[in-house]
């Protein structure tokens, strides 16, 4: 798959050869740098809304200062980075800059991480296949708008979830405040307050954390387990394959949400059980995807070559087959995170998910649904947040699929 597709792209080492083949395009680094800056500013803006509150968190001022500094840094390096990527060649300061960028990703600004990695890859040169493929995928992904917007929203929520530890006051979202019950949206409470006087905006911000965590881990679990089972079953075939896939058929026959309800009924409703319950149900689909890929990849010549060279089965599987069959798994897992976010909030809405005292989008909606007639915004806004996040994952998933698909060129 990867081996045969070394095609010249805009950043190839021999511009004279590749330039006529490629239409004019924005280069991925400048796009990433732009989104990185945008994300930093958005996070600062959202955090700044806290200024209108009666009081702010103790770490608010310090962290706002830090965020502003980081954004300034991003702004300053914007031009040199764009100039460097246009011109190409070697520059001794690039690894240092990339390192600094990666360090600023602790604020959750994953675009900084991606930009840093891209710069490093570019600096090292295009000689390795993996680097070439990485650059290729990013070039395609940054070319299309919707996936990037999706990624931007996900990264934004991720950064806000991390920064909210310092810039938002958790008490605003959880402590009852009977002086401000069911208030309409105002500057102090941008989305109004609920029946306990808690700030809906802060609650939604804190809810993003739970949704991202549950979505990520309940996808990671089946990716690892299902992926391994599928790889083993596809590689060894025959009896191993039969046994594993037939056992997974059993799991496949139970609808995911019912299996999750059964598991939660048995072990109680809390976040860890929720992650396990949602994850277990997705194992068979991932195993099937992986198996189909491994079956395909196993027929390629380089696998045969590795076997002829006397490589062990485990080495062939881990070094040659699994890395080359990961592409569809990445696409599928991006889409699954979106589905998991929906399932999480659905189960919480039914009282089967995250513990009711934690501000999670489903929990917020559950409270809000009781005030549908009088204060419908309590149910509308958390729902919009869920849709936006899931839509972003779906856009991103579609975009990654197109970027990884060798047929779409």
């Amino acid at each position: 798959m990867t081996e045969t597709r070394i095609q010249p792209s805009g950043k190839s080492a021999s511009p004279g050869f590749s330039a006529p083949l490629v239409k004019k395009q924005r280069n991925p680094e400048s796009v990433l740098a732009f989104y990185m800056l945008l994300n930093g500013i958005l996070v600062i803006a959202v955090s700044a809304l806290n200024l209108f509150k009666p009081y702010v968190a103790d770490t608010f001022l310090a962290s706002m200062f830090g965020l502003t500094l980081i954004s300034l840094f991003h702004l300053i390096i914007l031009l040199p980075v764009i100039r460097y990527t246009k011109r190409g060649g070697k520059a001794p300061w690039v690894p240092w800059l990339a390192g600094l960028l990666i360090a600023t990703a602790v604020t959750g600004n994953l675009f900084a991480l991606l930009l840093g990695l891209n710069l490093l890859v570019k600096h090292r040169g295009q000689d390795s296949l993996a680097a070439n493929r990485w650059a290729d995928v990013w070039a395609k992904l940054t070319r299309s708008t919707m996936p990037m917007v999706g990624l931007a929203f996900i990264v934004f929520l991720f950064s806000v979830s991390i920064c909210s530890f310092f810039t938002f006051d958790y008490a605003m979202a959880t402590e009852n405040n009977y002086g401000a019950i069911l208030q309409n949206p105002s500057l102090a409470y941008p989305l109004g307050t609920d029946n306990f006087g808690r700030c809906l905006f802060s609650r939604i911000i804190f809810g993003a954390r739970i949704s991202l965590i549950v979505g990520f881990f309940s996808t990671l679990l089946p990716v690892v387990i299902g992926g391994l089972l599928g790889a083993i079953s596809g590689y060894y075939g025959r009896r191993t394959d039969n046994i594993i896939m037939r056992l997974l058929d059993i799991l496949y026959a139970i609808p995911g949400i019912l299996l999750a309800i059964a598991i939660i009924a048995a072990f109680g409703a809390n976040t860890v059980n929720l992650i396990i319950a949602l994850g277990v149900g997705a194992i068979p689909t991932f195993a099937r995807t992986m198996r189909a890929n491994v079956l395909l990849v196993s027929t390629f010549e380089y696998v045969e070559a590795a076997r002829a060279l006397g490589a062990k089965d485990s080495t062939i599987l881990m070094k040659h087959i699994i890395p080359n069959s990961l592409a569809p798994m990445i696409v599928k897992s991006t889409l699954t995170i979106g589905a998991a976010v929906i399932s999480t909030s659905s189960l919480s809405f039914l009282g089967l998910g995250v513990e009711p005292h934690i501000p999670e989008w489903g929990n917020i909606l559950k409270l809000g649904s009781a005030y549908l007639e009088s204060h419908s915004y309590l149910a509308v806004y958390p729902g919009l947040a869920i849709i936006a996040l899931v839509l972003s994952f779906n856009f991103l998933g579609d975009g990654i699929r197109d970027a990884l698909d060798p047929k779409v060129n």
Binding site: R246, L247, D249, I250, L251, A253, I254, P255, G256, I257, L258, L259, I261, A262, I263, I264, A265, A266, F267, G268, G338, I342, S345, S346, F349, L350, G351, L352, L365, S369, L372, E373, S376, A379, V380, G383, I386, I387, V390, L391, N394, F395, D398
Partner: protein, 493 residues
């Protein structure tokens, strides 16, 4: 031993059958019998099912084996080949091969070891050659080696034996007949698979609930319950029995539609499920039909007008449909159509058909979106095939090309998605039912899970899974009839 040469026999049987043009009942039976014995798992089942007949035939085979001309012929051929010096030639050949091999790999082997290996390999090759030659002779002489299979076949072709063995071997004959027809065999295998899946689902769900650290007795009897009361409760519902006994009782209960009484409410679990299930199923089916009617044309339009405004709009709406949580969609519908506009009732009421509109739309949204997207991508794959260009070049109308050539070929993956989504809908109806206050199976399971009422949850989940498995079996069987590619593949194996 029993299957010795069964493969040859199949070929031989086919040849003789073709020569005679034998399509009689016993002919079909005997050729299918030879085929079935090649398949290891079927072999065991068939021989066990017809145990009385099988044992009789085996005895008959042992009796006749000594009288068979095959062994005499084998001996004769062996002598002939020995005299022709085949063994020595083989030895020389193998010696060369081994020497080359060892020198290539740079290995050192002692003379004795080498001789031993040559001896062993030559012996195997010689025996193979003898057997091959003998069976060739037999075939030219229109004779067959007497094996268990041929003994059985020759007996089957006698009407007397068939009649006598019909009653004790009925099951075996039925299985053989099933095997002789590829469709029946496929459907049968599919059913056996889903039986296995249903059994596995029962074990899995029961085990999950059995491992539960929850204490339903304490939850139902309240905090004031004494030790004795709890022990009595556990005894009444059989919760004090060992795992395997409880598992067996549950599986028996699932199969006989008698899961006993629920913990809370003192009602027969299966009766309640039977009362609630039709509502869920009706809701799901209506949504399914609605979704298909909307989604497939939308997908086709998107694919034929690729990258047009229609395409972008439809696919964007579909993506939103995939991203919208059904409970929120339900709440928004209630807010707009019931509370603000007063068009539709907010809760479900079996007497009022208007009240089913919102739940079906909410439940069908995900499916509609998924099917529309699948239809589009499946159509796009088909639309660039060579046969589409051919059809256009023949001068067929655009409509005809689309309907007869594109849709028919694109429909298979769409049916798969519908089958898969049907399961998700049956499960997902739990959420929709809760929002619209429908007393279906899904909301029943959710109501019962807080206790947890083990028989009710188990029954609800397992019967839903059984329905899904059966629907998938039906879809798979339908495939076999619709798709000529699958039909040919089925005939080949």
């Amino acid at each position: 031993m029993i299957i010795e040469g069964a493969k040859n026999v199949v070929d031989a049987a086919r040849i003789t059958r073709d020569q005679r043009g034998d399509t009689s009942f016993s002919g079909i039976l005997s050729s299918a019998f030879a085929k079935i014995l090649i398949n290891p798992s079927y072999r065991i089942v068939v021989l066990a099912l017809g145990a009385p007949v099988t044992i009789f035939v085996y005895l008959y085979y042992l009796l006749n084996k000594s009288k068979d001309s095959y062994y005499a012929l084998l001996e004769e051929t062996r002598d002939q080949l020995l005299q022709a010096g085949l063994l020595d030639r083989l030895k020389e050949e193998i010696r060369q091969q081994l020497l080359y091999k060892y020198s290539f790999f740079g290995q050192k082997v002692s003379q004795r070891e080498l001789e031993r290996q040559i001896e062993k390999l030559a012996d195997i090759r010689f025996r193979e050659a003898v057997e091959e030659e003998t069976s060739r002779k037999l075939q030219t002489g229109r004779k067959q080696k007497l094996t268990f299979t041929t003994a059985f076949q020759s007996l089957m072709e006698q009407r007397m034996f068939l009649l006598l063995s019909f009653v004790p071997g009925l099951l075996m004959y039925l299985l053989i007949l099933l095997y002789s027809n590829p469709y029946l065999k496929y459907i049968f295998e599919r059913f056996v698979m889903s039986l296995f899946v249903i059994f596995g689902v029962s074990v899995l769900v029961f085990t999950i609930l059995y491992l539960s650290p929850m204490n339903p007795a304490a939850n139902i009897l309240g905090e004031t319950a004494t030790e004795e009361q709890i022990a009595n409760f556990n005894h009444v519902y059989g919760l004090d029995q060992p795992y395997l006994v409880q598992l067996w009782n549950s599986i028996k209960g699932i199969a006989t539609f008698d899961l006993g009484k629920s913990f809370a409410g003192n009602e027969q679990v299966t009766d309640t499920i039977a009362r609630k299930f039709p509502i869920t199923l009706t809701l799901t089916l209506i949504s399914l039909i609605l979704a298909i009617i909307i989604a497939i044309p939308v997908g086709i339009i998107s694919a034929t007008k690729r990258n047009s405004l229609w395409d972008y709009t439809f696919m964007f709406i579909a993506l939103i449909g995939l991203s919208i949580p059904s409970f929120w969609q339900g709440l928004i519908f209630i807010l707009n159509f019931s509370i603000k506009l007063h068009w539709l009732p907010a809760t479900f009421n079996p007497q009022n058909w208007l009240s089913i509109i919102m739940p079906t739309i909410v439940l069908g949204t995900t499916l509609t979106a998924a099917v529309a997207r699948m239809t589009r991508s499946s159509m796009l794959e088909v639309i660039n095939e060579d046969y589409m260009i051919t059809a256009k070049a023949k001068g067929l109308s655009r409509r005809h090309v689309l309907m007869k050539h594109a849709v028919r070929n694109a429909i298979i993956p769409i049916i798969t998605v519908i089958g898969l989504q049907f399961g998700g809908m049956l499960g997902g109806s739990a959420v929709t039912e809760k929002v619209f206050n429908i007393s279906g199976l899904g909301s029943y399971i959710i109501d019962k899970q807080f206790i947890p009422d083990i028989p009710s949850i188990m029954g609800g989940v397992i019967y839903t899974a059984i329905t899904i498995s059966l629907v998938n079996v039906i879809i798979d069987v339908l495939y076999a009839f619709f798709d000529p590619r699958i039909r040919t593949k089925m005939k080949q194996y």
